[in-house]
Symmetry: C2
Subunit: 137 residues, 2 copies
DNA sequence: GAAATCCCAACCGCGTGAGTAGGGATTATC
DNA sequence: GATAATCCCTACTCACGCGGTTGGGATTTC
């Protein structure tokens, strides 16, 4: 029951992009260096975020990555779901064919309630929130 | 970011014990059979729960496992913590000062808030709650 | 054209989670 | 006291995913 490093790195990178001044895209190596993330690893993370439409990349010299929406329109939940998959602690809670005991299984209600709590928190925080939070230090 | 099967199984076993009528302890094989859990696996789970003082075992013929407190005094959080370890999604949130960037790392506040939310939910549900929930079906 | 960048696929080591195997210790019951 | 039922413990296997690397290719700017 841990967040993967991918998600942690990915969120840090997103916050970095959100806080970065100017309109020019940020090269991978710059993000990697200043956040202390192995560059090839971060590359795959950003690829995932791009596929989910959270960042856009421009190729070629003086290219790089940038947010594709403004920071106040990106919830932390978006980033986490993109990298971590659906926010369910237990598979039987989601859509799929649940376990045979689904009826009468009281434990499911526990997991479902936690899923809801987590989603509420994550959906309520935007990248912009995190940036201002970071500046207050 | 998934709950392990250990925890899922463990909680189900605890609910089973809580719902079981009579004072006699429940043999491992009975719990395993009626919850569909591999017996040797469940054995280790119950050993862990015993070490944490959540169940007590009596050996010998007509022995078995029973809750060591009444179901309304056992929170789901107790079970989950016993089997899953501390309820932190990211290690840097705990006392472990591993992350050099701890100061100024805005992401940490996200993880911390989720940890709190999870703990709140898990601490607010008792085994007794789950039993009555299960009976309502 | 050269340099800077993104893009992509394949690979690897290692930990851990899930489950198995097998034998030993204790106790109720007859 | 013998037997059967039960808990107790250690060690093992097996598969998978995570964190990370390698190496090369495709764009674009200058």
């Amino acid at each position: 029951m841990k967040i993967t490093s991918r998600t942690e790195y990915g969120l840090r990178a997103m916050v970095y992009l959100a806080a970065r001044p100017g309109d020019a895209p940020a090269p991978l190596t710059e993000i990697a260096r200043s956040e202390g993330i192995p560059a090839p690893f971060l590359e795959r993370i950003l690829a995932q975020l791009r596929e989910d439409g959270l960042v856009k990349a421009t190729r070629g010299a003086s290219g790089g990555y940038a947010l594709s929406r403004s920071p106040d329109r990106v919830a932390v939940a978006d980033v986490v779901v993109a990298l971590e998959g659906p926010l369910t602690l237990v598979d039987c809670v989601g859509e799929d064919r649940s376990c045979v005991r689904a009826e009468g299984c009281a434990s499911r209600t526990v997991w479902r309630r936690i899923d809801e709590a987590i989603h509420e928190v994550l959906a309520g925080i935007s990248l912009a929130d995190l940036v201002t939070e970071g500046e207050r230090r």
